[in-house]
């Protein structure tokens, strides 16, 4: 599988290199998304990628598909507009944790409520990377960032429970667990309804390096040691990655009299 280069057909190879720093994890996520596309043989005509703003958001422009690079936080409503306009399209959102869970958080919450049939891949680097390294909604408690010099006073958002509320798809994975990440993305793409993959990935330059990691490989090793795979669990513990189990859909609304 590792020699398989078929996934490259989903990329604009002539635009490489990406603007990302050496050691950045975004390339791993981008590649794995393309591998998942390839595994499902997603038609290039008929698939649209949408992103918000940030380092992760820049990945949209590298897909050899129609793509839309929206305003900061607004990828989900643009993607929903596309999907509701043409249900035949596969619509995939790729963006950062600040973009999707921070500034775009309400749209995420509402898309879960609407259960729009799109897939969101979150490049979850736990930081606002593009702007230099400020605290994000999923930065761990007590972590030092540019805007939390004494450590993050808040606890990180654990958004898996939002998805449970409407029986949507949620998976957490990391850039170390490549096969797992690919499986999560494939299952998310196959899911009929709103699906979200939180892919933990390394920002070495504006995050890891300040936390004492010498290089991004050390960050990968942290993922390896810290996270355990627990697929189809009811819920994921802080140190677990996996796909959460879907419950049967509860009856829709009030019965009419």
């Amino acid at each position: 599988m590792n020699n398989d280069t078929n996934f490259k057909r989903y990329l604009k190879l002539d635009l490489l290199p990406t603007p990302w720093c050496p050691g950045c994890g975004n390339g791993i996520v981008l590649k794995t998304i393309c591998q998942a596309f390839d595994e499902l043989d997603l038609p290039k005509n008929g698939t649209v990628v949408v992103s918000g703003i940030g380092c992760a958001g820049r990945s949209a422009g590298f897909f050899d598909l129609d793509s839309v690079h929206t305003a900061h936080g607004r990828a989900i409503p643009v993607a929903e507009g596309i999907k509701y306009a043409n249900d035949a399209l596969n619509v995939v959102v790729v963006s950062g944790d600040g973009d999707l869970i921070g500034i775009g958080g309400n749209h995420l919450f509402q898309a879960i409520r609407r259960n729009t049939n799109i897939t969101v891949i979150c490049y979850a680097n736990e930081i606002y990377a593009m702007t230099g390294g400020q605290v994000s909604p999923i930065t761990p408690h007590n972590t030092k960032t540019l805007t939390t010099p004494n450590g993050n006073p808040d606890r990180p958002a654990d958004i898996q429970f939002l998805f449970k509320s409407n029986n949507c798809f949620f998976a957490r994975t990391t850039a170390y667990h490549l096969n797992h990440m690919r499986k999560c993305i494939v299952e998310a793409l196959k899911f009929k309804g709103f699906s979200f993959v939180e892919a933990r990935t390394m920002c070495i330059v504006n995050y890891g390096r300040r936390l004492g990691y010498k290089n991004s490989n050390e960050m990968l090793l942290h993922y390896k040691e810290f996270y355990k795979i627990n697929d189809y669990a009811e819920a994921l513990a802080e140190n677990e990655i996996g796909i959460i189990k879907s419950a049967p859909r509860s009856s829709d609304g009030f019965p009419s009299a």
């Binding site: 008929g46 598909l65 929206t70 607004r74 409503p77 643009v78 509701y84 043409n86």
Partner: protein
Amino acid sequence: MTKQLFQGNQAITMAAEVAGLKFFAGYPITPASEIIHELVNKKHIKVLQMEDEIASINAIIGASLAGLKAMTATSGPGFSLMQESIGLAHMMEVPLVIVNVQRVGPSTGMPTLPAQGDVIQCIHGSHGDYFPIVFYPNSVSELYKYTIMAFNAAEESLSPVILLSDGFISHLYETIIPDRNFDIKNRTRPPLGAGNRHFTGLSHEDSVPKTSDVDNYRRLITRLHEKQQLTAQRYNYYEYLECSKDTDTLLISYGALSRIAYYFKNDFALYRPIRLFPIVEEIKIIASRYKRILIMEMNTGQYAHEIERILHREVEFIPILGGCIDLNEIKQKLYEQRY
């Protein structure tokens, strides 16, 4: 076709349907809500009530890129929320129609009363330089006609076109003939899912972001500006009424307030821009015939400054604030100004 009685907001929805509207996303707000109420009952139009106006504008951007003619409708507070993505739509060249039924601001102001306080926001509300086409009708039949013009101009310019209204004309009932014989402009660009284009708010050239190429940015903005000017020339709408008496004064007004200006047509020449922006060039020639230019508007001089700028001369200004259009008050102000 026979005359029928319609509300202003209702006329907008009927015209939008004729113009080919297929997708609407919006958020409730007075005095624009009747538009979504009407549209949900139309069979071939997808209507979404979104979580806010930011989601609304972004959903119609997506739908428009996916190939459907798309519209949203709001009032000042929602129009403020949409501003960032209006800039995005200009940069990505997305045809849209945005209806702003103005009410008294700033902030929540006086929600049920009409105003004209969002005139400058139409052209400078988003950051950076962009060149929107803005129409502002003054009757129910004109709301009908210029909704169709707004859709056509959006398709021709590949840009978001603003249709201004106000709480007065949008809530007015008048008899109109809902004519369906308009030349309708169709989409020229293939919908999403047909290629490998990249639509981005970053400065770009042929689908490739160019984040620090100064010359490319200058070319891009010049091209967008010229495109807007060229399209606007095909929508040169204004009303000019010469005075039966000899007068040295041209009275300028638009939208709801211009309806009361007709009362003074025997004392002043009247000018009413319908395409508010880009400013109709003819105003220069018309204004040159008059010694005095008098502008009244329901704000503190937003269009007056624009007119001064384009005419390179001073104009007299009468603000009519607070959502109240009272003939006696206006009479007094107009004639007071004279002496």
